[in-house]
Amino acid sequence: MFQISSEPLDVRALSAAIVGSSSGALVTFEGWVRDENEGQKVESLEYQVYHALATSEGKKLLAETLKKFDIHKISAVHREGHLAIGDIAVWIGVTAGHRGAAFDACCYIIDEIKNRLPIWKKEHYTTGPSSWVYCSDHEHHDDHNDSHHQDSIKIDESEYYCRQLELPDVGIEGQQKLKEAKVVVVGAGGLGCPALTYLATAGVGEIKVIDHDTVTTSNLHRQSLFTSANLGENKAHAAKKRLLAMNPLIDVTTVSEALSAENARSLIAGYDIVLDCTDNLKTKYILNDTCYLSGAPLVLAGIHQWQGVLHTFLPKTSETRENSGCFRCLSQEMPADDCVGSCIDSGVIGVIPGLVGGLQALEALRLILTSSAPTSATHSALIDLRTLSVVKIKRKRNFACPLCGDSPGITDIWPETYEIESNSDSIAEFEIDYEDFRKQSNDFVALDVRSLTQRSATDAITDGFTKDMRHIPQTDIETFRALGDEQKYLLVCQHGISSRHLAATLQAAGQSNFYSLIGGLTKVAQQSAN
């Protein structure tokens, strides 16, 4: 049996599968990932396998070995993907009546696997860039007459890029600039996937992908680098595999921890451009401040339903930053993330982040290829994709900005700058827990204030609670006002955020009879499950 495995190997099970009562000997070989190669310290490595060819060639090899030696059974498994030091990269087991033939056959198989199988190994060194090893000196036997497969693996650089080499602003010189460029993409989600795709295929020589999240089913409709085969996998790792499959001529490194105020500076050090493809304001502010102080242009974007915004902010070191300003020039204080809708609450269709993330890649490529700053470095683009309109809003540095103003207060990245009290952390007087509500439910009329689409996606567990509830969409403010100020109402939404905002608005207008359910239906479902 010959296999390529993306999972760690269970050597005990592999041995058990080939041992029988007639076996007098079992010889196994384990190839391990070691921590150095030719004097270079190795951190980890990665195997890329050309599946169809490796599997057919591996099976052929085992069949040959069975004929050549006096042995009973063979099993060989080769790993693919990212491996750490000490992981087993290849396992071979041979059973035979006597040990001699088993040893010989085992030696023969490992030598032939190294010689014949289209498996490439990329080593990541602790110092210096990673490199593919033994792919150039890898010998294919000419007798399998499979030149087509080899061509598809050994990509010719000038042929790969030939279409864009013809484009004004690119050419050989531009392509070399792209090859030398180093870009960090923070977030490999709806915006990050298209941005990464176009940076990688354009030939940006070194890309770092930062994402701590794992791929879930609800990501697949818009995050185009992933398939169901990646479910549960870290997004940065999964993105890297896909990007290298699309363009093996570049280097991709991954960071599977979240970007924070503590690590931001070191994570972007040495990189030319940073793309903010995150979905939260806190990281956007951390990146804004870090990039400005560290000297890297930042291409920042966000989407809301059918709309998007795109800005490029130039760093402190830029001569033209006067007309660029920074994210803090626009909104100096960092708002709490729960004050604005996210893709979870507001909904998102793949093409919107697809286009806006694609534009982020475009602006990064313009920064690399041309000497003049791209349009979004001086104008923020407000993009409405329902009407295909782009409004460009001119920016300038705000002299009172705490980061890039005339007397800045933010001169370094301090974690406490980004610790703001989330609205959801403090509980307002008009917020009620589900347990408390149940004790006094006769006093209240509960109102479901979710949108129609959120209602249709209701979790079955909470149906009993919402079934007979009157529905008034949260945007229907006049209806709420008409309910007066006497009967107590409990506003219920999905996460307890919209209902709190709504209750606060009504309370401020004198309707102190409106309350909000803490945590919304999500919390009710959790409490019902416990």
């Binding site: 709806g190 909104s331 708002p335 004050c339 604005v340 809708g341 809003i393 945007t475």
Partner: protein, 80 residues
């Protein structure tokens, strides 16, 4: 009374249900105008964290505006 064209973006568009509108107002500053609209449409965002553009240039909420101006209110947009 000033007559201005107001364009709503992102969450403000979602809440007001309007792309844009022609609006008559006695407000003097952009912040006052925003508060007037906040009350009308039950916007949840404070003016301190909302951005405003006046005739296609970012402006300060403290600033004033003239009859016939084009004003865009832009909340923080964090989806990705």
């Amino acid at each position: 009374m000033k007559q201005v064209k107001i364009t709503y973006f992102a969450e403000l568009r979602e809440r007001s249900g309007l792309d844009s509108e022609s609006f008559s107002t006695d407000s003097n500053s952009l912040a006052d105008l925003y508060l007037e609209l906040k009350n009308k449409y039950a916007f949840t965002l404070d003016p301190a964290i909302t951005q405003v553009a006046l005739n296609n240039e970012f402006a300060s909420m403290d600033g004033s505006f003239e009859d016939g101006d084009e004003i865009v209110f832009i909340p923080p947009v964090a989806g990705g």
